[in-house]
């Protein structure tokens, strides 16, 4: 009786300590996961809601856009440029030495049909709407901080780091395009 408690006491002391460490750590981990899980809804609520996501595509009637004209439509709350390019604008866009540009991309990669250029009308610098048929390259010019885009919407000059983005789109028929 007197002998047994001694080893079991040391065992207990030793085992109790590691067991306590384990419990302490496990409680901490469970607590942290629990906190993270309960914080997540409060972070995620700020992301686009279902109703915002539902309004994700826009159809555009192309028959009313003259050659040389550029229209702006609203898609997901931001402007999208639909530009009916003239032959000279197309050759200019295709002949440019794109490898030397800040964001090298050929015109081929940026259009599905040569005469239709469809772009997100948001300057890649700080989000202003560039003005069409302006600037040194007659594509777009951003009035906020002076970025010049060419007739393929590629950045040629100024602070913007990237070309105007090309949204997802499909031609539903000859005269209709669905953006998004």
């Amino acid at each position: 009786m007197a002998k047994t408690p001694a080893p079991s006491a040391t065992n207990l002391a030793h085992g109790g300590e590691t067991r306590r460490d384990f419990l302490y750590l496990a409680t901490g981990v469970v607590g942290a996961v629990g906190v993270a899980a309960s914080v997540w809804p409060f972070i995620h609520q700020m992301n686009p809601s279902a109703s915002v996501l539902a309004l994700a595509s826009t159809d555009v009637d192309l028959s009313r856009i003259e050659e040389g004209q550029s229209i702006t439509v609203l898609w997901r709350g931001k402007p999208v440029f639909v530009r009916h390019r003239t032959p000279s604008e197309i050759t200019e866009a295709e002949d440019a030495d794109f490898n030397s540009l800040p964001d090298p991309q050929s015109d081929m990669e940026r259009v599905k049909r040569r005469e239709w250029l469809i772009l997100v009308g948001v300057c890649t610098h700080l989000g202003c709407v560039p003005l069409s048929h302006r600037g040194d390259y007659q594509g777009w010019f951003c009035p906020c901080h002076g970025s010049h885009y060419d007739t393929s919407g590629r950045i040629r000059k100024g602070p913007a780091p990237a070309n105007l983005a090309v949204p997802e789109y499909v031609f539903l028929d000859e005269t209709t395009v669905r953006i998004g």
Binding site: N47, S49, L126, C128, P143, H145, G146, A160
Partner: protein, 422 residues
């Protein structure tokens, strides 16, 4: 007599259980303050009063404002035209915002000049900088609420700053907007946060004062108070001085409110927000211009593109102030006894003004170059001159005490003549 003693007993009963009266007495009446504080020391309490004005006018405006993209602009117009005294309250709030920054910027430069950020007041300084950052966020979101063209495009440009963050930038901006562009969810959350943050500021102001009262106010000599000869009680000496300063301040604020209420605003903000048309020239409110200039001044640096580099430089320009107590190597606080520092202090003031002007101009030609030079100098001031000058400059002898310096100043001739006679 019996009434007043009765009142006294009630106060004592309450104070015994919650010593709030003792606390107020300690921090306002008994609080021993250096007796040589000049008018530059008015701007701390002034900032506190402006904060209260902003909160009161803001709460009232929120009673008439509708945070929805279809109604926000009209509700602000209705405040201006229909709500009783709405025009007055809104103009007070709008100009009060500008006044808040004037007061706080002067308060900060006073701290820079007299070395108030140095040991043992580093945490006072930090709390102040946190207040500044909160103020900037609050002011920015408040400017978005009227939902005019400048509101919308300022929101667009500023939130796009976060898109410069590599990899997660786009995700963060979408999260901030609650959509794919600045829209109704953005307006709603900005309203919520614009209402919340001023109260957070109030909390940090308490920490600012708590840390301040630990060692007491700095003073124009920068030397520590050494005894009762160096100080006066805060009340009535500084309560009355602060009240005088407040009345001068109110004259200026009300002159703007009544005679030039839109002078600091932008006419484009009286045009309703239109996501399809960017105004020809976007400029932030004047108090952001120096930082805006830094944002635009930075070109591509090695592999970092200009957009990201500009954003980093802009945030660094404020964050660098947090380590200023350690960048400044001089053991002497006040610029009065630091002839070289005094010079570069004024260069810094000029530098920030140049940054402000170039921030207001289109980033082209001479203004872009000036903006770049001023940006570089701003960082040279803190990173090179502050550590260097503290070690090299020949300083002037410090007075033995605040009392001694006051006597020397107030009667240079008499004290000198008395000294000669004796």
């Amino acid at each position: 007599m019996s009434n007043s003693s009765m009142g006294k007993k009630v106060v004592q009963w309450f104070d015994y259980r919650l010593p709030i009266f003792t606390f107020m007495h300690h921090s306002l009446v008994d609080y021993q303050t250096p007796k040589n504080l000049n008018y530059w020391w008015n701007f701390g309490s002034l900032a506190g009063i402006v904060l209260v004005i902003q909160i009161i006018t803001g709460i009232v405006l929120a009673m008439h404002y509708t945070p929805h993209v279809d109604h926000a602009f009209d509700s602000v117009e209705s405040i201006m035209r229909d709500v009783n005294y709405g025009w007055l309250i809104r103009y007070l709030h709008a100009n009060g915002g500008s006044a808040f920054f004037v007061v706080v910027y002067i308060h900060i430069f006073r701290g820079l000049y007299f070395g108030s950020y140095k040991s043992p007041r580093e945490v006072v300084w930090w709390m102040g900088l946190i207040i500044l950052l909160l103020m900037m966020a609050t002011a920015f979101m408040g400017y978005v609420l009227p939902w005019g063209q400048m509101s919308f495009w300022a929101a667009t440009v500023i939130t796009n700053i976060f898109s410069a963050i590599p990899l997660v930038g786009e995700t963060i901006t979408t999260w901030l907007w609650g959509g794919f562009a600045v829209g109704n969810p953005t307006l709603n959350r900005f309203f919520s946060l614009h209402y919340l943050l001023p109260f957070v500021v109030v909390g940090v102001v308490f920490l600012h004062l708590w840390a301040l009262h630990r060692f007491g106010s700095n003073n124009p000599t920068g030397i520590d108070t050494k005894g009762p000869k160096d100080t006066v009680p805060f009340h009535p000496y500084y309560t009355i001085k602060d009240l005088f300063g407040l009345s001068v301040f109110l004259i200026v604020l009300l002159a703007f409110v009544f005679y030039a209420p839109n002078y600091l605003g932008h006419p484009d903000n009286y045009v309703k927000a239109n996501p399809l048309v960017t105004p020809a020239h976007i400029v932030p409110e004047w108090y952001f211009l120096p930082f805006y200039a830094i944002l635009r001044a930075v070109p591509d640096i090695w592999f970092v593109e200009a957009k990201l580099a500009g954003v980093i430089a802009m945030f660094t320009s404020i964050l660098i102030l947090f380590v200023l107590p350690w960048l400044d190597s001089s053991p002497i606080r006040s610029a009065r006894y630091r002839p070289w520092y005094k010079q570069i202090f004024w260069f810094l003031v000029i530098d920030v003004i140049v940054l402000g002007i170039s921030g207001a101009k289109p980033p082209e030609g001479v203004w872009l170059i000036l903006g770049r030079v001023a940006t570089v100098y701003y960082f040279i001031h803190f990173l090179i001159l502050m550590p260097l000058i503290g070690r090299l400059e020949p300083t002037k002898p410090l007075p033995g005490s605040i009392d001694e310096s006051v006597r020397q100043e107030s009667g240079t001739q008499t004290s000198e003549t008395t000294r000669k006679h004796s």
